[in-house]
């Protein structure tokens, strides 16, 4: 996982509720067997016209937000399918942080596994940040993960919560699978206990 300590950049406002993962990356991009290059498909149906040209009204097509590093989104962002392609596409586009009132649980996990930071803030604060993000290329936000703060363009500081373990992994860019495999003895002892107490757990072979 790529480490993330702090981040400074333009934030794009996207005040829509229930942005689902089909909207973030549609099915035609799910046929890949790789992880990279999905940024071009990000928000496909909102971002492109039917003839494939850019829809000039879509926020990420506006000059001010083309290099946005942060997205300020609506409630229940990332709901729907478990496709990690949604996180891959956002990250590949260059956005490392999404701020919203709430996220779907699966999307939340997927994003962190890819070195992204998701920040939950109450709706009133999101409304305020959205208004500030609407100022365009001057809307530079900075985020400090160590201190757990978002600083808005007006200098206002917004504190956020994050689990310690998640924060630790992200700050240090740790490989979670390697960390887990270090617990080999705990896993083996769990297995040897359940194989005695719950012998039915092994699937029958027919």
């Amino acid at each position: 996982m790529k480490a993330l300590k702090d981040l400074t950049g333009v934030a794009a406002p996207m005040p829509m509720i229930n942005v689902d993962t089909d909207m973030i990356i549609p099915k035609q991009y799910l046929k890949t067997i790789g992880r990279s290059g999905l940024g071009k498909g990000l928000f496909h149906s909102m971002r492109y016209n039917d003839d494939g040209t850019d829809n000039p009204d879509f926020v990420l097509n506006k000059e001010a937000y083309k290099d946005a590093k942060i997205l300020i989104a609506g409630d229940n962002f990332g709901c729907g399918s478990s496709r990690e392609h949604a996180a891959w596409a956002i990250e590949d586009f260059g956005i490392r942080c999404v701020i919203a009132p709430s996220f779907s649980d699966i999307f939340y996990n997927n994003a962190f596994k890819n070195g992204m930071l998701l920040i939950r803030l109450p709706q009133e604060q999101i409304d305020e940040l959205t208004t500030q993000a609407e100022f365009g290329s001057n809307a530079v936000f900075s985020i400090d993960l160590e201190a757990q703060t978002v600083t808005a363009p007006d200098g206002g500081e917004h504190a956020f919560e994050i689990d310690d373990f998640r924060k630790h992994c992200l700050l240090n860019g740790l490989d979670e699978i390697a960390l887990t495999l270090d617990k080999e003895s705990s896993i083996s002892s769990y297995e040897s206990t359940t194989s005695k107490t719950h012998r039915w757990l092994t699937p029958a072979t027919s």
Binding site: P15, M16, I17, N18, D20, D22, M23, P26, K27, L30, K31, T32, I33, G34, R35, S45, D50, G74, D75, N76, C79, G80, S81, S82, R83, E84, A87, S102, F103, S104, D105, I106, N109, N110, K113, N114, D163, D164, F165, R166, E176, I177, T180, L181, K183, S186, I187, Y190, E191, T194, H198, R199, W200, L201, T202, P203, A204, T205, S206
Partner: protein, 488 residues
Amino acid sequence: MPISGVPYFESQEATFLPAKTLYDKIWDAHVVSTEPDGTCLIYIDRHLVHEVTSAQAFEGLRLNDRPVRRPELTLAVVDHNIPTTDRSKGIDDPESKLQMDTLASNTKEFGVEYYDELDQRQGIVHIIGPEQGFTLPGTTVVCGDSHTATHGAFGALAHGIGTSEVEHVLASQTLLQNKSKNMLVKVNGKLPAGITAKDLTLAIIAHTGTAGGTGHVIEYSGEAIRDLSMEGRMTLCNMAIEGGARAGLVAPDEKTFAYLKGRPKAPKGAHWDAAVEYWKTLQSDEGAHFDKVVEIDASSIAPIVTWGTSPEDAIAITDSVPDPMSFDDEHKQSSASRALEYMGLTAGTPMAEIPIDKVFIGSCTNGRIEDLREVARVVEGKKIAANVDAMVVPGSGLVKSQAEQEGIADILKEAGFDWREPGCSMCLGMNPDRLEPGERCASTSNRNFEGRQGHGGRTHLMSPAMAAAAAIAGHLTDVRDVTKGAPA
């Protein structure tokens, strides 16, 4: 050690006994280790794998030279990409073919059992798990697919995971998790005649909203839930994710045991007896604490259809398309206006007057034998409307052959339905089955998101009986009108 969030009560003897929910019990039985902040390493008993979300995970194992820790706990199948026409002649779409071939070679290389496109046991991943007896009460079940919630119908803690987590489970047979909160949805009383599990699950989501269950595991209980068949419970739990919950649970009972007994991968002999004895303990204790409780009166539920582009946009078929301004907050108002525009609907139009172009019967929500029987009951002796294209996609090869043996396939074909090979099909349209822009579909699947069934396609979610009635009428309609006079 006390578990946070679980209330303890003191007995006369001053010993401390936790009153646990079903979720607490399954969770506690699977904790391998705990981080200081409460993040747990959870053991995973069953892992289902399909072609769309696994290639990058196997690639990760290969790059790091890691084996699959316990291949016998993983079962793989192809379902999302696969055409539903004759597959013996090969697959046309080169990208779909590559994804399918990649799963075939990965499962071979890592020693995982795999049902390919010609295997009769092939089908939608959430249909074959229970069908094979791979899904069992009290187990943890994961799959790189959000509708893994389906398996909760058996009292299994089942949830969808992303590809990085698929790799984590393959490598370690564990998952890093934070415990969710407990939510209870209690459905009191009996469902009226003709009202199905699909109506119930849509009614619950309309009530709680698509984010109502976020951060929670939902346990469904109450008389109406106990009355549901296993198929009905699967339909119910399937859509727990649409209510924002990562998992739904129904406590196992005699129906659960009867469904599983004798299935190929279910325990046998003495192991079966020991399992049933344990499974009977899998109930929420009296007095167990739920962070959120929702009670619903089953008798008030009518046949439900969706009007918008979120599963929470669900109303009774007897209602009309709502006015966006009738919603209380501005975010919901703008979302409803956008939905009506996308759906090509005008506020005030009676739902039962909306004409349709296509009917899709299938998916992991409603692709089981009971669903197909329901459709056959509605359409027997009738013909689908001239303006409608209707397809039935059985959830698995075994469902398909059972429906053929029971004469259901003939009834459906006779009525004008297209009878297909099993797979996800037009639930998400990764294969050639999809809606054209502007086409309107009565669908038994679970998501009505923009473009879900095809770019520009318009989806109305409903039960199999309601979709069958719409196929006959040529527009959305109350199934109770179509089956009037017929025995229920």
